[in-house]
């Protein structure tokens, strides 16, 4: 009788442990799933913050930075403009091709590979320049697509003080 009672308590303890382990596993896994929207939201905010807070003079980029391809061509003239303002200038001067290439160059490495994104100015999509079937399919099938918005404006011509904007700048970001 004594031996049987001992087995009973050991089995009981093991069952209780199993219940606790399953419970903790379920709770922790539910924690892991919850932050996903926040992560996508943070990424889209971060990308837009990066574009609006970084200036041309702050980046070391052979295409978009000081002394780079666009600088030498005269397409970029004010190193104090933010990247978002520069995108606004390309949009205002109807140079959307350069805008798309500029966005691709400056945002490289900022967004992890498993995410896709679009940059819109004033209701026009500037990046990507063309929508591929894979891009459209990924956008349509995603469970979570988040957007971040900001207003951009600036000086177009420093002599006359001509202004571009104010434009609505939007970043759409989702997981592939």
């Amino acid at each position: 009788m004594h031996k049987k009672r001992g087995y009973f308590f050991i089995l009981d303890a093991m069952l209780a442990l199993l219940v606790l382990v399953i419970g903790v596993f379920l709770i922790t896994s539910s924690y892991i799933n919850v932050p996903q929207p926040a992560q996508v939201g943070l990424l889209s905010d971060n990308l837009l913050d990066f574009l609006s807070n970084s200036k041309i003079k702050d980046i070391n980029n052979p295409y978009a930075g000081i002394g780079g391809e666009l600088w030498n061509k005269g397409s970029i003239t004010d190193a104090d403009n933010s990247l978002l303002q520069q995108i606004g200038i390309f949009y205002a001067t109807n140079d959307k091709g350069t805008a798309a290439k500029f966005i691709q160059n400056v945002s490289e490495g900022i967004v992890p590979g498993q995410f896709k994104y679009e940059v819109w100015i004033d209701g026009s999509m500037l990046y990507p320049a063309e929508i591929t079937a894979e891009h459209a399919q990924s956008r349509n099938s995603t469970k979570l697509l988040l957007t971040s918005k900001k207003i951009t404006f600036g000086i177009l011509n420093s002599t006359t003080g001509d202004i571009f904007g104010p434009y609505k700048a939007e970043v759409f970001l989702w997981e592939r």
């Binding site: 209780a16 419970g23 903790v24 709770i27 539910s30 924690y31 919850v34 926040a38 905010d45 918005k149 900001k150 207003i151 404006f153 600036g154 000086i155 002599t159 006359t160 003080g161 001509d162 202004i163 904007g165 104010p166 434009y167 609505k168």
Partner: protein, 326 residues
């Protein structure tokens, strides 16, 4: 047996209490929704706050600069079209900046140039109000309380904009009073004084001379007349750029600028006057030839060019190149 049953109930209670504690501690819903709400509100306030800062530090300044430049340009073209001075410069500047009109008439229709259309302070305010509503879902109200322009330096003008603005969102409200000032270079603009006095026959752009005050000589005066450049002397007796809109020819010690009129572009070329612009057309030395000097050192290129004694000394012209007119 009775004792054993009581112990079982005791353990069951303990396990229920432990499970209840676990459930209470690890229930994710309440905690996360609270965090999510706090994060959403703080992110929203952050983005609107950043918009408010941008509005005050960048947008109003950019708009003030752009609109001031266009307003001054329009007023110069207006004087060119009408051939007359602006009687009340401050009120004309305010009206053109705010509405694009002068005396109730669109200034573009007088000048024949589309400069102020869609470019007044009111237009730019409407634009930011609409974009803010569309982008951040906020209601922005901007009230312009005053617009003025003054001069404290010879080569630039200082516009000033006083605004009250309110930004309302579903989470917070911002109300501010702000005064924005800026500086705009006058170089490259046409001198309105030349336009009116020559009935648009003689246009001269404001261009600063690179000659230092103590380096003047006859060769540099020749270049000065040829290029139509301007100079500001310390304690200047000339009028400032803004004073030239209203024909206020009085000394402006801080901001007076002067150029030398080219006799080849005047009709008649030979006038008994001193040829610095503000003296020539205010007739300060009219027919007073005893106080004038023919600058014969320049007559090969600028025949009949004359200066008064004060300017002969300022430009360091020697008796070799200056002969009394009579």
């Amino acid at each position: 047996m009775g004792k054993i049953k009581r112990k079982g109930i005791f353990f069951t209670f303990i396990s229920i209490i432990i499970m209840a504690t676990f459930i209470l501690i690890f229930t994710p819903q309440a905690d996360i929704s609270l965090q999510k709400d706090t994060h959403a509100v703080s992110a929203r306030i952050g983005s609107i706050d950043s918009f408010v800062s941008d509005l005050e530090s960048s947008y109003f300044d950019a708009v003030l600069r752009a609109t001031t430049y266009k307003t001054i340009l329009s007023l110069i073209l207006y004087m060119n079209s009408t051939g007359s001075y602006v009687p009340n410069f401050d009120s004309a500047f305010y009206e053109v900046m705010l509405t694009g009109k002068i005396n109730g008439v669109p200034i573009d229709s007088v000048t024949g140039r589309q400069i102020m259309a869609n470019s007044t302070i009111t237009d730019w305010n409407d634009r930011i109000v609409n974009t803010a509503k569309d982008t951040l879902n906020v209601n922005t109200t901007i009230i312009v309380t005053n617009i003025s322009v003054s001069q404290a330096k010879a080569w630039s003008i200082e516009p000033r904009l006083d605004v009250n603005y309110t930004i309302k969102s579903n989470v917070a409200e911002w109300s501010r009073k702000s005064t924005i000032t800026s500086q705009i270079s006058i170089e490259g603009l046409n001198d309105p004084y030349y336009l009116v006095n020559t009935n648009r026959a003689y246009t001269n752009q404001i261009k600063k001379s690179s000659v230092e005050v103590n380096q003047w000589n006859i060769a540099k005066v020749r270049e000065h007349v040829r290029n139509g450049t301007y100079i500001h002397f310390e304690d200047s007796k000339a009028s400032s750029f803004l004073m030239r809109f209203t024909n206020t020819i009085e000394p402006s010690p801080c901001c007076g600028i002067e150029s030398l009129a080219n006799p080849n572009r005047l009709n008649p070329s030979d006038q008994i006057e001193s040829y610095p612009d503000y003296l020539l057309w205010s007739h300060k030395f009219a027919n007073n030839c005893t106080q004038l000097y023919n600058i014969t050192g320049l007559w090969d290129e600028f025949r009949y060019f004359k200066l008064d004694f004060y300017h002969v000394a300022l430009f360091n012209i020697t008796s070799q190149d200056a002969v009394r007119t009579c």
